[in-house]
Amino acid sequence: MEKAAASRDDRLVLLVEDDPDDVILMRRALRRLPAPLQVEHLEDGERAIARLADEQKPVPAVVLLDLKLPRLSGFEVLRWMRDQPRAKRVPVVVLTSSALKDDVGRAYDLGANSYLVKPGAPEALAAMMADVDRYWLTLNERPPFVAK
């Protein structure tokens, strides 16, 4: 645990999502990947920020971020992250049900790395989770980790 203070977990996905059904189904989809991922779930923006601010815990490989969240929205979480040395470079994949042009643009303006719309079909969700794993945790060159 002491080493964790300045570490990054390259198989850890931080899932920020308030809909428990989506959480269960996404966890299931991520669990069923050939190489399972660690999933840590947070149900609102405040908790997400508190978790990312906690230096005792490892920085995730990627954040799957919903936009419509209680307490603090995904946009606010994103803005906060891009101001923090530790969280600044963590890839953020927005995963939400809205595809409004304004939302998409604003998310990218605030520094989102990707924007995905939750698919209706369960097969599509499984495929999307596999793609996220393949792209963001495997293919993508990881940004150099900054402890402070």
Binding site: D19, D21, D22, I24, L25, R28, K68, S97, S98, L100, K118, P119, G120, A121, P122, E123, L125
Partner: protein, 476 residues
Amino acid sequence: MTIPKEHPGPSPSSLGGGHRLRLTGGAVAALSSVLLIVTALLLNLNLLRLREARGLVRLTNEIMRTSAEVRTQVIKAETGQRGFLLTAEGRYLAPYEEAAARIGSDHARLVALVLDPEQKRRAVALGALLDAKLNELRQTLALYRLDRDGALALVRTDEGQRLSEEIRALLDEFDNAERQLLEERTDVQDDRAEALTILAGTTGMLSLMSALLGVGLIRKQRQEEQLREVNAGLERRVTERTASLAEANQELDAFAHTVSHDLRAPLRAMRGYAAALEEDFGEAIGKEGRQYVGRIRAAAERMDSLVEDILTYSRLAREDIRTGRVELEGAVDAVLEAMAPAVAETGALVEVRRPMPAVRAQGAMVRQALQNLIGNALKFTPPGKAPVVRVRAETRGEGSPVRLWVEDEGIGVAATHQERIFAPFERLHGRESYPGTGIGLAIVSRVTERLGGACGVFSRPDGGSRFWMDLPAWKD
């Protein structure tokens, strides 16, 4: 909905006009007061002149009265002298003496009153004659007391008579001259007064006119100001309305957004759990259980596409439209490429007749309509028969729209239903045989309507359908 964002303010020319009008109104009002002052001055001058004229008339009257007095006194003196000479009665001498005493002062007054140099000369001449006359009278009377006959002889010399006539003639001349002088003077005064009156009248009228004009202009300017205010108010209200409409539109958008995402979240969960149930516990629930799960999934999927179609349909009503050149051929190709799986699945034979003209439209909307038309052509075929679809376009002369045809050899539509099928949620068949939400043709209808076109169908049961869609032709 397209809302004009421009709020044109009052045009510069109308502003300039108002300004000019205001200046003109003020200038005219100033002119009217200047004219009014001039009028007052002229009237005052006129009054002075009239007073002067009245003074002259009074003076002439005085002069005439004095000259008449002199004449009377002369006659009186002569009459008294004659009476005494004839009767030798002393009482006849009284009028003579009275007149002789007064003539001097009357004459002196006359000389003092007269202003005209000619009259002055006559008055002086009259003085000499009067002296001579009085002298003659006095002499005859003095002689009479010494020598009665001698005095009468002196009378008979006609010296007295001659003097009297001369005096009368001179007085006549004097009176006539005085009368003429008065006439001349009053004529001049009359002329001046008349001219002044006309001038005053004219300036008064001008002042009245310019006052009226000024009042009119000022009133007009006020009216224009009021009009401008009213216009500004209207513009403000239009702006407010536009803003509130835009707000209402935004609210509708937000509502559609909410409906879309909040309705879809539970559907996503239903589909997800049904899939999970089937995959993880499929063995345990048996064949019938798996069938039920399949039904749950299908129902949720149907609901999902209904939500999607309703959203599409309502978005079509509100979306801003920016039309441009759309190549029908390219649009048809793009739609067919997207629908390739469905075409392959049904084993359909799709023919596209090339080339096709360009239209003025919005690409995405045209593709949406095409997708629904081609989708219907693929769907509504008798079971077991591969669909045959023909897509073609025709230009029907200059200024006419381009008509795009999507023709099939499917089950067709009875004439009684041909209008109904373009309304939303209208379905002619059971879901089991032909699935769908019943919104496809309503979308086609709305697309063509919003792009300034039209759509329709020629069909008969079992004879295939020929759907058409008119769109404005592209003009370079």
